[in-house]
């Protein structure tokens, strides 16, 4: 969703609208657990255009996966990268302007859609 610049007038007086402060783009790592090294999976959220990049950073034979939740009481939704070490997948989301997203990245097995929850990073909130 594109940011908007609005000029409105209303009962409270002249309303000048401006682009909201973008969420500071955030980066996340998975954590070390049995069978996975620290930061074997990575993720990066870019508020402008709501892109979630999921990266695979370890030649371990496993996939990277993001779990995310949205402000309507929904989630976790899953975003995978099964492309192997050194790859990054751009997931272009459609989020409401100004809304929040909470996400974390984990190691998983794409074939059986199994998220290794013990590898999930703490997670972070960002904003569209």
């Amino acid at each position: 969703m594109r940011r908007r610049l609005l000029v409105l007038a209303g009962t409270a007086g002249l309303l000048l609208a401006a682009a909201p402060p973008a969420g500071a783009d955030t980066t996340q790592c998975s954590i070390a657990a049995s069978g996975a090294t620290a930061c074997a999976a990575g993720a990066n959220f870019v508020s402008y255009g709501e892109h979630l990049f999921v990266s695979d950073r370890a030649a371990d034979g496993h996939s990277s996966v993001v779990q995310y939740w949205l402000e309507g009481g929904t989630g976790p939704f899953l975003l995978w990268n099964s492309g192997g070490n050194g790859t990054s997948v751009d997931h272009n989301l459609e989020l409401a302007e100004g809304s929040w997203i909470f996400y974390r990245v984990c190691v998983g097995e794409y074939g059986i859609r199994d998220v290794w929850t013990s590898t999930c990073g703490a997670g972070v909130t960002d904003y569209a």
Partner: protein
């Protein structure tokens, strides 16, 4: 984000948002713009509760990032002033009360405001402002002082977040009742693990610390239908077991865990300062008077109860030394029965009150629930005798816990099928807990052995009650096709009436 505002951020001109004293006239929730200390902090909505003839309690909790794992909701470790307003109209052109309160980091930036001096028996609207952001508008009302033509309220319980969508809350919000009673299991502390889930927890382990309880309440409040139901009417809330741990009692919880659970409950509910916990204790039982029409006795059957009886032990279940309310609460309740200020008396409480005995044999208890009033039969007998002997005119017990709708008549002796009816019990099913439902109904033999039980239904929903000076109507609302469907409808599954002065449920 509030549903009544576009997902845009407005920069308001002038004093309206620049200062901290005034709240702009526009009624819709709005995000403050520019460089602010915090983002829109009203993601958990607003709520009100416990009305009196001249006031109520208003609640919000600041949490711009509700799912932050530390339970702080994305707030800094500093206190923040919050402005509040009460108006007689939704546009806030007629302000009846206003002020500023401090949202303290030590209380998860929750605020509990108790405006007083308002007019009795009327509707009000309220909102908050923090750091230039405007909250959604809530609707509430004061209690009447005298006769009211009718009282409409909803009864709900048991809303496991993972097991379904909150269609029941959507229905409650649409009803715009005078009151909502929530009778426990607002939040489930246990590990994620339902066999069929429509959504999942962020923190999947069992909640047993203050941070984890706070986080789980926040995740529940991310549901827009739950927020809408809170914003639609004042609530009367009590907890049951899952706000702390499954089937807990007065003997089996560490003080530290009780303190954490009670603190989080207080922080997340529209409760008055009188209910603020002190260490590992909370004074939850209280009365709410609704003019000459109704009186609610809100009970705590968890905090002071004796340990559950061994399964099947009639001797222990009937031991008069055991209690489900604790001696002090029992005396408080019985003393309250000495006065009869209203047509209807409601016990708002947690667990099944009427007897359920599959074989109707007085000498066996293997079929009795040791966690419900059946497991504390002497306690039940004392309270039932208390309202009968003191002449309480029309008693109705309101119950949650069991994830099914039930309607029952109450007797002093349930083995005497022809004995007098002394009141009725309306048991609300769960909002979501139990998921699809559809369990087998009781057998014909079971029904024959429990003739006081008039209705059972294993579907999700809530109970809608309308009380007048002459009659009470109870509508058992159900969600169809089920709460695991993102779209569903609500319908009346069964309707009963109780006529004032004539105890007992009548089909309607």
């Amino acid at each position: 984000m509030p549903s009544n505002v576009n997902r845009r951020i407005f920069l308001l001109g002038g004093l309206a948002v620049a200062g901290t004293a005034a709240i702009p006239a526009a009624a819709s929730a709005q995000r403050g713009a520019g460089t602010r200390a915090i983002r829109f902090p009203f993601e958990l909505g607003v709520a009100s509760g416990d009305p009196t003839p001249d006031g109520f309690v208003l609640w919000t909790r600041l949490a711009p990032a509700p799912l932050t794992p530390d339970g702080k909701g994305g707030m800094p470790n500093t206190d923040l002033p919050v402005q509040w307003q009460v108006a007689t109209d939704a546009a806030f052109t007629s302000i009846a009360a206003s002020g500023t309160v401090t949202a303290r980091a030590a209380e998860a930036h929750s605020v509990h405001v108790e405006p007083a001096g308002l007019a009795a028996g009327r509707e009000y609207f309220y909102r908050f402002q923090a750091d230039g952001h405007l909250s959604p508008v809530g609707r509430t009302r004061t209690a009447p002082t005298a006769a009211a033509s009718q009282l409409r309220f909803a009864v709900a319980s048991c809303q496991h977040f993972e097991e379904g969508w909150y269609h029941a809350h959507r229905g409650i919000a649409a009803d715009r009742p005078d009151l909502v009673l929530f009778l426990g299991d607002y939040m489930y502390e246990n590990v994620s693990g339902a066999t069929e889930k429509v959504r999942g927890y962020v923190l999947t382990g069992e909640s047993d610390t203050l941070a984890e309880y706070r986080h789980r309440y926040a995740q529940y409040r991310t549901d827009p239908d739950l927020r809408a139901a809170h914003a639609a009417a004042p609530w009367l809330v009590v907890f049951d077991d899952h706000e702390l741990e499954n089937n807990w009692n007065s003997t089996n919880q560490a003080a530290a865990r009780k303190q954490a659970a009670f603190q989080a409950f207080w922080e997340n509910m529209p409760l008055r300062a009188a209910q603020r916990p002190s260490g590992s204790a909370i004074g939850l039982h209280r009365r709410v008077q609704w003019g000459s029409l109704a009186r609610f006795h809100m009970l705590d059957t968890r905090q002071h109860r004796a340990v559950q009886a061994p399964a099947g032990s009639c001797t222990v279940m009937r031991d008069p030394a055991r209690t489900i309310t604790g001696a002090a609460q029992e005396q408080w309740l019985l003393q309250g029965f000495d006065q009869h200020p209203s047509t209807w008396d409601f016990l708002g409480q947690q667990v099944f009150f009427a007897q359920r005995d599959a074989d109707a044999a007085r000498n066996t208890c293997t079929d009795h629930s040791n966690d419900a009033w059946d497991g504390y039969a002497a306690s039940r007998d004392r309270i039932a005798a208390g309202w009968v002997q003191r002449g309480v005119p029309n008693m109705v017990v309101l119950t949650g816990d069991v994830h099914r709708h039930w309607a029952a008549d109450l007797r002093r002796d349930y083995y005497d099928f022809t004995g007098p009816v002394i009141g009725s019990e309306l048991v609300t099913t769960s909002v979501t807990s139990g998921g699809r439902g559809g369990g087998a109904p009781p057998t014909a033999t079971w029904r024959a052995n429990n003739p006081h039980i008039k209705y059972v239904q294993d579907q999700r929903g809530y109970v809608r009650v309308t009380a007048t000076a002459t009659q009470l109507t109870a509508e058992f609302m159900v969600v169809t096709p089920s709460v695991v469907s993102p779209t569903a409808s609500l319908a009346v599954d069964r309707r009963f009436v109780i006529r004032a002065g004539t105890p007992g449920l009548q089909p309607a």
